[in-house]
Structures are given as C-alpha cells and as structure tokens.
Symmetry: C2
C-alpha cells in the first residue's frame, strides 16, 4: 500500500493554492488570517486547504490565543520529494508475472 499512501500525500500537494501556502510556510509560520488576504478565496476555503494539508501531515497547527498558526512539516515534504524521485523498480514483480504467464510477450 506504499503507492496508496504516496498518492494520498501527492493529492494533498497537487493544488496550486496549497503549494503556495507551503511556500509561505517555508519562510515562517503563518496564521489563517494572514493567509486569507493573500489568496482570492474565502476564509473557509483556506481553512479547508489547511485542514487537507494537516490530514496529510504536511503541516502542524498550534493555537496561540485567538489565532491558529500553521507550520510546515519539512521532513514530510522532503520525504515525499525523495519518494517521487526514487520510486521503486519493479523488475522482480515483472519477472514473477512472467513466470506466472501473466505477461503477454509483445515482441
């Protein structure tokens, strides 16, 4: 299920608003009310994007009194980029499938 998990993380990243939020968070932690005026969408929309990133463990939230600050989970982001660049070779599985006659020969 490694592919499922990676796909879920990539889905969380595969949106321009969320990528830009992450870029802002690379500079410093931001609260929701800072992010809202930057983007041309409503506060609940931003809140949902942050919630999506949090579910994917790409960001963490910390309440500071009235505000909720979001911070980047750099490790998770780094890991995801690395996973993409190092997707497994599936040569063993291909051999296994050939053995079981599940692979059509095409040449």
């Amino acid at each position: 299920m490694a592919f499922e998990k990676l796909a879920d993380t990539l889905k969380a990243l595969a949106d321009p608003t969320r990528l830009k939020i992450i870029s802002f968070l690379r500079t410093r932690d931001c609260c929701v009310c800072e992010l809202v005026p930057i983007f041309n969408i409503s506060q609940p929309a931003i809140s949902k994007h942050l919630s999506r990133l949090k579910t994917a463990e790409l960001v963490r939230e910390t309440r500071k009194g009235q505000w909720v600050f979001y911070s980047l989970n750099e490790k998770k982001l780094e890991e995801t980029g690395f996973a993409l660049s190092h997707l497994p070779h599936l040569s063993e599985q291909l051999k296994e499938l050939e053995k079981q006659g599940l692979l059509v020969r095409c040449e």
Copy 2:
C-alpha cells in the same frame, strides 16, 4: 504560474495506479497489453491513465507495429521530485505584502 504547472504534474502523479505504472516503466518500457493484466481495471482505464501521464509529459509513447510501448521520461519525474523538495521561500512576497498593509499582524 509555476505553482499551477507543478500542481498539474503532481495531479498526474497522485494516483496509485499511475505511480505503479511509472515504477514498472522504471524497469523497462511496457506496452498497454502488458499493463492491463497487472491491474484489476479495464484496458480503457489503463489507456486513460497512460494518456494522462503522456499529457503531463511523464511518459512517451512509441508505436511498434500492433503495439504501443510507453517509456518513462525520467528527467521529468526527477525534476518534479526536486521541485517538491525545493519549493521556493516566499520571504520577499511576505515583505511586500507587509509593506502594502495586506498582512494582518498576529502577535
């Protein structure tokens, strides 16, 4: 629009079937009819996944007689992983926004 483009590429990658197809293609070029029996979905479904990957320039197709072989664009995959791990800092934009009074101060 760099965020838009990266998001589009990530959307193409953000699916377990397509990630697995890419992993198979890391080992060797495959034709559609080889991939179909590996996954538990129909031939048109595989064909559409490949089409999505091709549109994102993550794979290339070559017809060999009856068969269409797909090969991985390793460079594009590598670049995407790198881009994720190196999303820009937006400190300048944050400063600019502060100057324009568009940033609420939260502490």
